[in-house]
Structures are given as structure tokens and as C-alpha cells.
């Protein structure tokens, strides 16, 4: 590992190109059910998979690279090259001061959730595998500065385990998992033992499970209808990270974290400033409800400290160091989403780390991530 800037960004997104699935999968078998761009009569293009429109009808999601970050591309030719070309992305990373970039999808869902909504598990698996192959061949092969993470089919769990093994063997370093799969289609509740093989294989292969905000939009308070779409997008960007609180609460109180001591969980796009208040509240509630008598070896905060990481890009770090701890915070640039700090990534970072000692700063900016992804 070589660090020029001292920053491993643990949450960035690749933009999948229009031919990714149609080139790799059988068009004669799947036809128009494959993820593809569809052109409307007014010239606007939108992603469609299995009859469902993705990305809210946009042609891509790359607000930070657009001339106006409140406007997502409406046609593929408006998608900026740095969103989908590795060589162009590397230039942006140099300008932003990013050494390594951990990759999440876009069309496949910011949290890897899009294909989980497909009822046909064979089509789901085919779409997932094509993405996982492509990310290795197209991004990871382009530069070792890209850290690929696989997506997974939701069910059956044996297929998810098999795909994680296959993907890690190909070079994937983490697992992007839509945190509440039972919200996507009719599969068992994530709290139950049915998913233990999934957590176990991640422990065995030593790859983090990455739960990104936005996997279940119903966890966010919806905006009023008729609100200016630019303001609605800003609202979505604010209510999405904090919706992770429901995920963290569920994974703690249902004992998923308790049963899997070596599982490492990245709360991607969580931000930082609600976290310690939640942890203090969860412990308080745990004690108040007498849960120590109900077979928990650890309090919620202790489960967090053992297994989890918060991920931010705009918070002040110093206020949270004493309670959350530098060991449990990761940093990101969130390229190329509209909420990204780009093009002021370096300046924002300096202001966020004001008053943070060099040792803690190194942990948050790269040491924790280097350990997590074994760089």
C-alpha cells in the first residue's frame, strides 16, 4: 500500500454503463428484463430492470460532477466521464486527495438493493454476478487504488454464500448488503438465524459487511408532494444517513451482532453526529428495560464497539472522539453523489478534523480502513 495523500475513502460509487448487463447476459433468455437504458419520446433516458424504473427515472447519479449538482443526468450522454471511466475517476481522486476508493454501485442500488426487488431469483443472481465480474474486470483491473466490493443475491441464503465465496476469490474485499432484505421482497426477517450462514462466511473470509443508507426508503420521512425536486433531493440526502439508526438498533437488539463476534459491519453513509447520542440512548433503554436479564452478554454500545464503524464525510470529528472512539470512525468522499464534498473535499476535510490529534486523524482517514480491507 502506498499513501500519497493519507486518505482512504471508504464510500464512493461507480456508475454502471448501459451495456454492462446486456453484453454479459443472454439477451435471448432475458430480453428486456435485463437492466438497460430506455429512451422516452422526449429523449430522456432511464434505467429499467424487470419492468421497474431505477434511480428515480434518471440516467445516472453523479450530482457532484454535474454543472449543477441539484440536476442528475437525464440522458446517458450527460453522465460525466469520471462517473463511469476509471482513468477519469483517478484524476478526480488525485484532485480530491484520495489514495484508495472503496466502491459501491449505483444502478444496482446505492446500497446494493435494486436486484433484491426482482422476484425471479435466477434473474437476480445473473444481474448480481454480471456486476461482480464487471467491477473486477473493469475497475479493480484498472488500478489497485480501487477496492471492489461485491453485491449479493438475497435468497436463498446458500446462493448468497456461494456468490460471496466466488466474488472474494475474484478479488472483492467487502460485501455490500441491503440491510433489511425483507423490505425488498418476501424473504425471511434479517434478525433470524436463517441468515447465520451469510454472516458466518463473511467472518470466515474476513470481509466487512457494508450497510449503506437508503436500502429501504420507507425508513425516511417522505417529503410533501409537490415540493421542488431540488429541495426534495436535499431532504433525501439528509434523512437517508440517519435512517441507519433503525438498522443499527435492529442488528443490536435482535442479537445479529451478538451471535457473530468477528463480523465487521460498516454503516456506510451513516454520518457521525447522531451516533453517540443513539448509543447512549440504546444503553439507557437496555438497562431501563432490564435486558441484561434476557440473555445479552453485551450492551448495545459494546456490540457497536466490537463490531461496527460509522462513516462520515461532513461532520466535525473532535466532539465524538472520546465516546465513539477514533477506532470506530471511517471517512469518505462520497464521489460522485450530490452529497459528496467534491470539489471541496480537501478543504472540508481540514475543517472537519480541526482539533483532532494526528494519531486519531490517521486512524479515521486511513489506518482503520487499511486494517478493514487488509491493504
Amino acid at each position: 500500500m502506498q499513501l500519497k495523500y493519507g486518505f482512504i475513502s471508504v464510500d464512493d460509487h461507480v456508475q454502471e454503463p448501459p451495456d454492462l448487463w446486456t453484453d454479459r447476459l443472454s439477451r435471448s433468455r432475458w430480453g428486456a428484463r435485463l437492466p438497460h437504458l430506455e429512451r422516452a419520446s422526449d429523449g430522456a433516458e432511464r434505467w429499467v430492470v424487470d419492468g421497474k424504473v431505477l434511480l428515480g427515472g434518471a440516467a445516472g447519479k453523479a450530482g457532484a460532477f454535474m454543472p449543477d449538482r441539484n440536476c442528475e443526468p437525464t440522458r446517458w450522454d450527460e453522465v460525466p466521464a469520471a462517473a463511469y471511466l476509471p482513468a477519469e475517476r483517478l484524476k478526480v481522486m488525485d484532485a480530491a486527495g484520495v489514495d484508495y476508493s472503496v466502491l459501491y454501485p449505483t444502478v444496482a442500488g446505492l446500497a446494493g438493493e435494486a436486484f433484491g426487488r426482482i422476484e425471479d431469483s435466477e434473474l437476480e443472481l445473473a444481474c448480481v454476478q454480471a456486476y461482480n465480474d464487471w467491477l473486477i474486470e473493469y475497475w479493480a483491473a484498472a488500478s489497485e487504488r480501487f477496492i471492489p466490493q461485491c453485491i449479493v443475491p438475497l435468497w436463498p441464503v446458500e446462493e448468497a454464500v456461494k456468490e460471496i465465496r466466488r466474488a472474494v476469490a475474484l478479488g472483492h474485499r467487502g460485501v455490500v448488503f441491503p440491510s433489511l432484505p425483507m423490505h425488498l421482497r418476501n424473504v425471511p426477517h434479517i434478525s433470524g438465524p436463517e441468515y447465520d450462514p451469510l454472516w458466518a462466511v463473511c467472518e470466515e473470509l474476513d470481509v466487512p459487511v457494508c450497510l449503506h443508507g437508503g436500502a429501504s426508503p420507507e425508513l425516511q420521512y417522505p417529503p410533501t408532494s409537490g415540493l421542488n425536486p431540488r429541495l426534495a433531493q436535499a431532504l433525501d440526502a439528509v434523512t437517508r444517513p440517519v435512517s441507519n439508526v433503525f438498522v443499527l438498533s435492529l442488528y443490536s437488539f435482535s442479537r445479529v451482532l451478538l451471535r457473530h463476534a468477528r463480523l465487521r459491519v460498516v454503516l456506510a453513509e451513516s454520518a457521525l453526529s447522531w451516533g453517540m447520542l443513539y448509543l447512549e440512548w440504546a444503553d439507557h433503554q437496555f438497562e431501563h428495560d432490564g435486558l441484561a436479564r434476557e440473555g445479552y452478554d453485551l450492551k448495545p454500545s459494546e456490540m457497536f464497539y466490537r463490531n461496527c464503524f460509522f462513516t462520515s464525510w461532513f461532520d466535525q470529528v473532535a466532539p465524538f472522539l472520546s465516546y465513539v472512539g477514533a477506532e470506530h470512525i471511517l471517512w469518505s468522499s462520497k464521489l460522485p453523489l450530490a452529497t459528496s464534498t467534491w470539489p471541496r473535499t480537501r478543504e472540508t476535510l481540514e475543517s472537519c478534523f480541526r482539533g483532532v490529534a494526528p494519531e486519531a486523524r490517521e486512524k479515521v482517514l486511513w489506518r482503520n480502513a487499511a486494517g478493514l480491507y487488509r491493504l
Binding site: 433489511l180 431540488r230 429541495l231 433503525f246 435482535s254 447520542l277 443513539y278 440512548w281
Partner: protein, 393 residues
């Protein structure tokens, strides 16, 4: 009011006796639909429940575990078990003195503060009026009670506004409102509700959103059958720590707070952490998206500091962030007589949570912010009082 202790609870709950509604609503008009207490029998066990609109409610007849003794928490099965302190404003003053509390802001207790569920607009309006009348009696009993009016959601906004005016003239100090309006009514931030916010702003009545307050984001998490009831309660309640973070951004980005710049919004029993996140996240998006070009001229953090308040009670770690959150925007709450209350040892807990906090900050958190927000006519004694720093003996 003479301030004797230097501690005001910005969130307590007033219980109502069984006759509260039957004596205030027309029996010829509503008969057995009037909220009343009924005796239930099941497997030889007799217990009391509130019946509203002819439907027996699930909850206990009174929520007052702080007054029920050991084992904690115990909830009364029969009305006779309910201590007068819960529902009699005169008796309750003794408990306030025992606990060292000057005044309390009053939220509902069973049978609750919303009656829209029965989809009967006239019924809802009559129950709401009876509730507001009954609670204003507390303000007449003592100026140490600061009642909050409830609102008839199903009525026209103008009718709601008139009820708020009526309640305010009877002594109410604010309104209690859901964080997410019941379907199919328009969104909390929709202009439909502007007449309501208009009267609240004009009369300087803060709008209160309590606990999870029906914000459906959390409730939408698919239920799991593997929890015990207490585990399910913990998993759900812990997340209400961030309810303000789901609601406040809507108030800002919808333009509502800009349109009503003197309207105050208070989050009760929802922690202080949500606000910390709102400040950081909304400013980040406002700056990077240049949202002033979309008509939002005020920086979100300025709006929040001007208009939004949150409460704390146990958050010893959280209160260390008081200056990031806004030292003028935080108030203490007891939740008396609910399960979170530390009665009769509130001061012990206050001193634990505020250990090392300078006197100037303590005064703001414990009573000055509440005095300012609720325009309490308070006389401070010449000598130092507990709230100023001295631990209460």
C-alpha cells in the same frame, strides 16, 4: 411564580380521572361514545380500561409507574390503585415540592392526546375541547402547571386555529402535535396547515412533537417475532433518539420555518442528538447545493437555533455536546410520572448528568430556557438556588 428550586420540567404528563370527559361532554349527543373507564373481566381477573368511541383501548387505565412503587415499573390494573398525585393538580404540587421541581409542561396520559382514529370529526372536536378544558383547570389550580392544548386534526384548519385561540385564552402555553399527520391529511409541511402555524406564531405558542409521535419511518421496520416484548420496546424506543432528525429537515427545506420565522418547535422525549445531526447535515447540503438559490435564504443552523428546542434527562455524554447543539435550545424534562422519570430523586440525576457543567450553562438548561420559551412570569430569589450549581440536599 416564585422560583424556589431552579428546575422546570419541559415534559411531564397529566393524568385524567374517569369522570373527566363524562362531565364535560353532552351525554344526549354522545352517550356511551364519551371516553370513560370500563370494568373488564378476563379469566376471572378484573381490570379497568378506557373506552373511547365505544372501543376499549389496549393500554393501562393510567400511565404512572413513577408513583406505583416496587417492583418497577408497575402499572395500575384498577383505577382505585392510581395515586391522587397522578390526576389531582393540588395533590401533585406536594410531589413537585418533594422532587424539587418548580413547574412542569403538561403532555397527555391515557386515554391520550389524539382522537382522529375514529374518523368522526364532530366527536373529535368535542373530545379535544373537553381535554383542553380539563387541562386548563390545572393552570387555574396553580401557575406551576403549563398545559399544552391538543388539536382536532379532522377539522378545517381554521376551526383548529379557533380551538387553539380558545385554549390559549384559557391558559394553555403551547400545542401538542403529531410529527407526521394522519393519512390521508396533507403533509405536516403542506400549506394546508398554515392557518394553524399562523395562530401559533401570532400567540407565541410553541408546537410540541413528543417521542416518536407517530413518525412512520421507524414504525415501518418489519416486525420480528423473535423479540420478547421488552426487547421489542427497547429496539423501537432507542431509535426515537433521532426522531427530530427525520422531522426538522422537512420544516426547513419545505420553507415552513422561513415562512413562520417566529414559530417555535419543541421535541419532547426525543433526545438532543437528532438536532446535532440536523445542524451539520442541513448546513452541508445547503452550502454544497447552494440552496439559497432555491429560495432558502437563511442558513439551516441559524433557523434551528432560532426556532427548534430539544429536551434531555439522562444524557450525561450527550450534554457534553450542548454548545454544538445550542445551549439556548435545550431544556430539562422529567417525564413524570412515566417510566423514564427519576421521581422523587430528580436532583440526584440532574447533578449526575450535569457534573462539571458551569453554573451559567446549568441555569439555561434547568430553567432559564424554559422561562424564556414559555414566557413564564418567574421571580428569582435573592439567594442561590439548587439550579445555580449547589447540589440539592
Amino acid at each position: 411564580m416564585d422560583l424556589r428550586y431552579g428546575l422546570i420540567s419541559a415534559d411531564s404528563h397529566a393524568a385524567f380521572a374517569p369522570g373527566t370527559y363524562t362531565t364535560r361532554m353532552s351525554s344526549s349527543k354522545w352517550g356511551d361514545l364519551i371516553p370513560r373507564v370500563v370494568e373488564m373481566k378476563e379469566d376471572g381477573i378484573v381490570y379497568d380500561r378506557w373506552s373511547i368511541y365505544g372501543k376499549v383501548s389496549d393500554g393501562d387505565v393510567c400511565n404512572c409507574p413513577a408513583l406505583m412503587g416496587e417492583p418497577f415499573p408497575t402499572f395500575p390494573k384498577r383505577w382505585e390503585e392510581v395515586p391522587a398525585t397522578a390526576h389531582d393538580p393540588h395533590e401533585r404540587l406536594k410531589a413537585l415540592d418533594q422532587d424539587g421541581i418548580d413547574a412542569e409542561v403538561l403532555f397527555p396520559n391515557p386515554p391520550g392526546g389524539t382522537f382522529f382514529e375514529y374518523r368522526d370529526r364532530d366527536f373529535e372536536l368535542d373530545v379535544v375541547r373537553a381535554y383542553n378544558d380539563a387541562l386548563s383547570d390545572w393552570a387555574h389550580a396553580s401557575d406551576r402547571y403549563l398545559p399544552l392544548a391538543i388539536i382536532p386534526y379532522l377539522s378545517e384548519p381554521e376551526t383548529i386555529a379557533r380551538e387553539i385561540e380558545r385554549a390559549a385564552s384559557a391558559g394553555h402555553r403551547g400545542i401538542n402535535c403529531l410529527g407526521e399527520m394522519p393519512a390521508p391529511l396533507p403533509h405536516l409541511t403542506d400549506p394546508y396547515w398554515y392557518p394553524v402555524w399562523d395562530v401559533c406564531q401570532a400567540l407565541d405558542l410553541p408546537v410540541h412533537i413528543h417521542g416518536s409521535a407517530g413518525v412512520r419511518a421507524g414504525a415501518s421496520v418489519r416486525k420480528w417475532s423473535g423479540y420478547t416484548p421488552r426487547q421489542a420496546h427497547s429496539a423501537m424506543t432507542a431509535t426515537s433518539a433521532v426522531t427530530p432528525a427525520q422531522v426538522v429537515p422537512h420544516l426547513i427545506f419545505s420553507g415552513m420555518t422561513q415562512r413562520f420565522p417566529r414559530l417555535k418547535i419543541v421535541f419532547a422525549e426525543a433526545g438532543i442528538g437528532g438536532l446535532n445531526y440536523v445542524l451539520a447535515a442541513c448546513d452541508h447540503e445547503w452550502e454544497s447545493r447552494r440552496l439559497w438559490t432555491e429560495g432558502l435564504t437563511t442558513r439551516p443552523s441559524e433557523t434551528v437555533r432560532r426556532q427548534v428546542y430539544v429536551n434531555f434527562w439522562f444524557e450525561a455524554e450527550g450534554i457534553k455536546l450542548r454548545h454544538e447543539i445550542g445551549i439556548d435550545n435545550i431544556m430539562w424534562e422529567s417525564d413524570f410520572p412515566h417510566v423514564a422519570s427519576y421521581y422523587p430523586r430528580s436532583w440526584q440525576e440532574v447533578n449526575r448528568v450535569l457534573e462539571g457543567v458551569p453554573a451559567e450553562d446549568r441555569r439555561k438548561l434547568l430553567y432559564e430556557n424554559a422561562i424564556r420559551l414559555y414566557r413564564i412570569d418567574a421571580t428569582l430569589p435573592d439567594k442561590a438556588i439548587s439550579g445555580d450549581a449547589l447540589p440539592c440536599s
